[in-house]
Symmetry: C2
Subunit: 388 residues, 2 copies
């Protein structure tokens, strides 16, 4: 097991109607002037935004607001948010939405306390402070409600880049599974795919003997596999939504990733895909992850056999572990199809002839991508080709 | 799934030689005058205490010290510690040891900031403040390094009682698995038994459909079951010690317990046992848990069948789930025996004729104990009898 630090200080408030307590928690965590940040009309139409505002008003907390976050959130709105924060003396950013809204809020929180360009932090500059961010989560997927990460797409070139820091962990997150019951099937499935990917980026590792995180990873994957079909059959299944919502958090606050080298190459390959075509991140992952698996499987066939046996219930072929390993990948792909996810470029609207563009956008040059197998530009190209 | 709050803000520093950084972390978390609290001679003999002091001195942090914590830590030493803190102006308590030392440190941290008797908080008074506590963990078992709890035995009547509060979560905990390699086999096995019990107190619940915590519980149990025999065969097996050390934390910081009613009756029955006979807590749990299981099994035979199948690899008898359920309990008992744990009163030095004393000490009267099955005084007596 590798040495590690683990720090997950977010206060989670989970359950029915908990969004009505948001004012109390902002007060407890020291906020007095809040920027409410959100996406499109759904939080307005559903009345959620009103309930949040009522709770703030009832607690005597003043606020301003900025809507309009889109999936794969853009830098333009972040710059707007930063300007509002500086002008209005905002001391707390409240994200009401899903991963995109939270990521955009984190970027604003970062930029509000720096003089230069917030984008520098998405190009490797070390984060040293940020306004406190809190969330009222409406979409189970990204895990951003409990994670250190934020992913933003810069409109100048559609570059999609990530920043990571303990300063970006939300101070509190309100998770009410009821708010996710209105999610369309496609978004629910995209969310589940994203959660599974967060686990698998940690699961496929060269670090030996980290059984505790292996087992936690497998537990989260089994939960998502069992619960997402229930939520697709009955969108109002509170228990399924609740299990998925908490699974999404533990999939990405790193409790299932400590002590081991992690990979993350598939996320980066996907970022170029959804950056270029503006497709849902989960859908892009559904296309890229099986392709990556097929390409790297023989690097550690026993790890893929473990994945097949423990997660997909395959029987172990002790004479030919590669057959078991391959079955696991097949089962994963079949599962993705069964929940309505694309698994090929064509289903996504992506084109084989754009592969050189995607490879170039990664900007690898002589560098490699990922850790399970260190992928060269040539490897990456072949993986994109496997996804066609 | 039940509504819940989850808050685990402890900063974990995990890995080889990390105790040498303790000064840096005390500084980061605002300590300037530290009480170092520890147990017997082992931390002195091993040189650990000296290394900790060197780290504090190198960072310019002043300290006083108090050793002498015993297993099932006593109120007497807590009173002494509180007096030292008040007299010396201590602002930070550092536990160097296992669960007993940490629990004693938490009690001191509590008492140092209150005018009355610290024991009131162990009799139900609400905790509202405490000095910050940090730990350098030397024994994997209690999970106190990441938990809200502290258990103290009052010398006046040998009453063993618990206090729980977010204020008692350590601000940071240093976990170096190397420090546990010197643990004797018996203590290693006691620790593993304790961890498993922490999980099982959460696992056996009447709350339906909390698959995510079920799966995490099962993952932790599987890890302990697979890793503890390795540590018994080769005490210096770093990987086994590391897995056990982190499993002990996740078993008890409540990540595997949220969203569900928990039981905790076995812990309370055991507290009376180890309070009366001063036996190791883990050994007492090894005797009491199988007895409790046998008594309550038919309350939810399918849950026990799930335990048998998923944790112990039993084959499901679909026609007679109770046979599977019983097999799971048998396998658990056999496992305990295989790692050198007692499973009967006699092996523990406990006597059947003391059962009325044990029942009386619980002081149930008309109240009931636990939640999976609400146990009356009569139930409790029968469970103790099953353990004879």
């Amino acid at each position: 097991m590798n040495n590690f630090n683990f720090y997950s200080p977010t206060y989670f408030v989970f359950g029915r109607e908990k969004e009505n307590e948001v004012g109390k928690y902002i007060q407890r965590f020291g906020g007095s002037k809040v920027l409410i940040h959100y996406g499109g009309g759904s939080v307005v139409k559903s009345g959620l935004l009103d309930r949040v505002k009522q709770s703030l008003t009832a607690t005597g907390i003043s606020f301003c607001e900025l809507g309009g976050v889109v999936p794969n959130p853009r830098s333009g709105l972040v710059y707007q948010g930063i300007e509002i924060c500086k002008k209005e003396g905002v001391d707390f950013v409240l994200a009401v939405g899903g991963g995109s809204v939270i990521d955009s809020s984190k970027a604003i929180a970062l930029g509000a306390l720096c003089d230069g360009d917030f984008w520098d932090f998405y190009c490797g500059k070390r984060v040293e402070k940020a306004l406190p961010v809190a969330t009222v989560l409406t979409l189970t997927a990204a895990g951003s409600e409990g994670s250190t990460g934020s992913v933003i797409t810069h409109e100048n070139g559609m570059l999609k880049r990530a920043a990571n820091s303990d300063f970006l962990r939300p101070v509190f997150s309100i998770l009410n599974p009821e708010l996710t019951c209105s999610l369309p099937a496609y978004q629910t499935a995209c969310g589940a795919t994203d959660m599974m990917a967060h686990v698998m980026e940690r699961y496929f590792t060269n670090t030996k003997d980290v059984e505790i995180t292996d087992r936690l990873c497998e537990g989260i994957l089994l939960t998502v596999i069992n619960e997402v079909p229930k939520a697709l059959v009955d969108p109002d299944d509170y228990e399924a939504r609740a299990n998925l919502m908490w699974a999404g958090m533990v999939a990405h606050n790193d409790i299932c990733g400590v002590g081991r080298e992690q990979d993350w190459s598939t996320h980066q390959m996907e970022h170029e895909l959804s950056g270029l075509y503006d497709v849902a991140h989960g859908a892009g992952l559904a296309v890229m992850f099986p392709a990556w698996m097929k390409y790297v499987m023989m690097h550690d066939v026993n790890r893929f056999a473990q994945f097949a046996v423990r997660v997909w219930g395959c029987e172990m072929d002790f004479q030919h572990p590669e057959i078991t390993a391959r079955k696991g990948i097949e089962r994963y792909e079949q599962f993705l199809t069964s929940i309505g996810m694309p698994v090929r470029f064509s289903e996504l609207g992506a084109k084989a002839e754009d592969i050189p563009l995607l490879v170039k956008a990664l900007g690898l040059g002589e560098r490699t991508l990922g850790f399970f197998v260190k992928l060269t530009e040539d490897d990456v190209r072949k993986i994109y080709e496997l996804a066609v």
